[in-house]
């Protein structure tokens, strides 16, 4: 069977194919070009034969003549079969190929020579490989690489070819023009700024963190829930973010338990269900202790925790068919949805996939980093409340403590509040040092 090779990836395609089966490159133009070349080739060979006095001496299998590699350079790798007409894949390719340059106005020429972006099966924008030279009539000069010492080139190649290593951060990040401050000193300062106060309980004038808009709204929504309300919980964090999110989620879960809400938890992360179970258990113990309840009386309601793989699209399934995700008991329409998300995308996924389907008010409990990105959703009313970071946790806990005086603030949250000051002070220091170094070391970057 005759085949046509793709000029982009080298795949053999059936003759007459319009596009490459592997990468989607248009083949018709390539095939026509190949046919033209086939027609021209015999004529050229005849002309060459007529012009030359005799054939050049060919290397025979008995006398192989391997190319000597240049000193200091590795031997040139063998070109893969089928890639002979793909100059852009050769090591020595300097940015131009034999394909004619695009004419901005001529779409047909573009279509004939366009090569498609790799990795996305050529379905998005075409990648322009050929470039127009400055002087159209003259052959384009190969761009010269700057004169870089061989040792530096070797270092660059080694770094580009190896995975980044955290421990060598100082060397990797230090550019020649950057001020000479060793980053490990900053690392050490940050580590000690947290470690020493935590270890030695160093005192610091302590204020209350700011209460950002959205926390009180979240509190009011939960406070307004009827008894035995159905609450759908999307647990979108795992141990990686538990250090921050546990403190923010704890007062909210305590509040839900105090309102006798019936929670059903779903998570798309493998580590999500275990994290959820641990935090809910912790909240339950705290709440029982604060209200002097016996464990037996209030543990009757088992909170189902489901793990669903498949990505954000499955949240639509949770909203549309809760009976197929949970047991029959969770069939009623939820009164509230709470998203505990490490990233803004987690909350966005719920608002995009589930909220338009079940039309349930949503409260987001997120990391501090997600807060600014979620503000538009809170402003548009898609989020009924927003609790974020250690400061959101502190504010919510304070609101809750007013209603439940016996409830104690978690020790971990107290330490967060104190140690944040130390850590943020080091951040200020780093910013000041960076600016001073830039000011005194060299002119500012353009």
């Amino acid at each position: 069977m005759s085949v046509v090779r793709c000029p982009h990836c080298g795949t053999a395609n059936r003759a007459g194919s319009n596009f490459c089966n592997s990468c989607g490159t248009e083949l018709r133009a390539a095939e026509e070009r190949a046919a033209d070349e086939r027609a021209v080739e015999p004529r050229r060979q005849e002309e060459e034969t007529a012009a030359e006095p005799g054939p050049p001496p060919a290397a025979t299998p008995e006398t192989p003549q391997p190319k000597e590699p240049s000193p200091g350079l590795p031997a040139a790798p063998q070109q893969p079969h089928g890639l002979a007409d793909q100059p852009w894949l050769r090591m020595e390719f300097g940015g131009t190929d034999s394909a004619p340059p695009f004419d901005e106005e001529d779409d047909s020429a573009r279509a004939a020579t366009a090569r498609l972006a790799p990795g996305i099966q050529g379905l998005l924008a075409p990648v322009r490989v050929s470039v127009r030279s400055a002087g159209d009539d003259e052959p384009a000069a190969r761009p010269r690489s700057p004169d870089i010492p061989a040792e530096q080139m070797r270092l660059v190649r080694q770094r580009m070819g190896s995975p980044p290593i955290l421990g060598q951060a100082e060397q990797l990040w230090s550019l020649p023009a950057s001020p000479d401050l060793r980053l490990p000193w900053l690392f050490l300062a940050l580590g000690l700024a947290i470690l020493l106060p935590a270890l030695l309980a160093l005192p610091l004038p302590r204020g209350a963190p700011a209460q950002w808009p959205g926390v009180e709204d979240a509190f009011d929504v939960i406070q307004g829930l009827p008894a035995q309300a159905n609450v759908l919980v999307y647990w979108a964090y795992d141990p990686a973010a538990a250090g921050e999110l546990d403190e923010a989620a704890l007062p909210v879960v305590e509040h839900l338990l105090q309102r006798r809400a019936r929670m059903s938890v779903v998570s798309l992360l493998p580590g999500g269900p275990a994290t959820a179970r641990r935090l809910i258990e912790r909240a339950r113990l705290e709440w029982q202790r604060s209200e002097n309840l016996t464990a037996a009386a209030e543990s009757a309601w088992v909170i189902p925790v489901q793990y669903l793989p498949g990505g954000a699209a499955m949240l639509a399934h949770v909203a549309q068919n809760p009976e197929r995700v949970f047991d029959a008991e969770q069939q009623e329409r939820p009164d509230l949805a709470v998203v505990f998300g490490a990233q803004a995308e987690d909350v966005q996924h719920w608002l995009e996939q589930a909220a338009p389907l079940n039309r349930t008010p949503v409260i987001a409990v997120t990391s501090a980093a997600a807060d600014p990105i979620l503000r538009p959703y809170w402003n548009s009313g898609q989020l009924s409340g927003l609790v974020s970071g250690f400061d959101g946790a502190y504010s919510y806990q304070s609101l809750l403590a007013d209603r439940l005086p016996r409830l104690e603030r978690s020790a971990a949250l107290d330490r967060q509040v104190v140690l944040q000051d130390w850590g943020l002070a080091i951040f200020f220091l780093a910013i000041v040092l960076g600016n001073l170094a830039a000011m005194f070391s060299r002119p500012p970057e353009p």
Binding site: N21, R206, G271, N379, Q420
Partner: protein, 208 residues
């Protein structure tokens, strides 16, 4: 999956992709609510197939490291540790009737997985301070504006600011977060959603 495949098979795959997408789209618009049982079934299949894909991914990772061990490649002892950890957790979860809630699996989760993941993410604080030192500079392009935003929020969110700073600063930071930053990020969100929608439609219909 394979380079040498017929065009008709390609069309079949694309037809399936487009029709599944259209069913979901029609159901979500509410135009054809009778499609809901079909979408429900599709989602249920999606959950199952994603679980099998996950298993395939785990198998792939294990296979790669087993090959490293058998071929004696660089760092093969680390691959031994990886495969051993994988096998121990897998055995503890699959052999126990309690699955992931068995005491050994829970112990492994609390002793290895949770602290490991938490510590890896805690390291990001050091990257952040490196970025604060290198990037938040007045002289950089846009650095002054970024620095202003960062300093305002760093100050306002510090708990000690409540003691040392005027309450007006916190109020101003709250207003910045709620008005200009919110408005800007709304534009960015809309731009991102628009781009995502266009890319998805292009992907479905393969327009150039």
């Amino acid at each position: 999956m394979h380079t040498d495949r017929s065009a008709s098979a390609n069309y079949l795959v694309i037809a399936l992709l487009v029709s599944v997408s259209l069913i979901i789209v029609l159901d979500r618009t509410g135009i054809a609510s009778s499609l809901q049982p079909i979408t429900g079934t599709l989602y249920a299949w999606g959950i199952l197939l994603a679980a099998f894909s996950l298993l395939l991914g785990v198998f792939n990772a294990g296979w790669v490291h087993l090959q490293r061990i058998f071929l004696g490649e660089t760092n093969w002892p680390h691959s031994v540790a990886l495969v051993a950890a994988l096998v121990v957790v897998l055995a503890s979860g699959l052999l126990s009737p309690f699955g992931a809630e068995s005491s050994l699996t829970e112990w492994l989760f609390d002793a290895i997985i949770a602290p490991g993941q938490a510590t890896l993410f805690a390291l990001l604080a050091f990257f952040m301070i490196a970025a604060a030192y290198r990037l938040l500079r007045v002289g950089r392009n846009g650095g002054g504006w970024m620095l202003a935003g960062a300093l305002l929020m760093l100050t306002a969110q510090a708990p000690a600011a409540g003691v040392w700073m005027s309450p007006g600063l916190t109020r101003f930071a709250g207003w910045t977060l709620d008005v200009p930053v919110m408005a800007t990020l709304r534009g960015a969100l809309m731009g991102g959603s628009l781009a995502l929608t266009l890319i998805a439609i292009r992907y479905m219909f393969m327009t150039k």
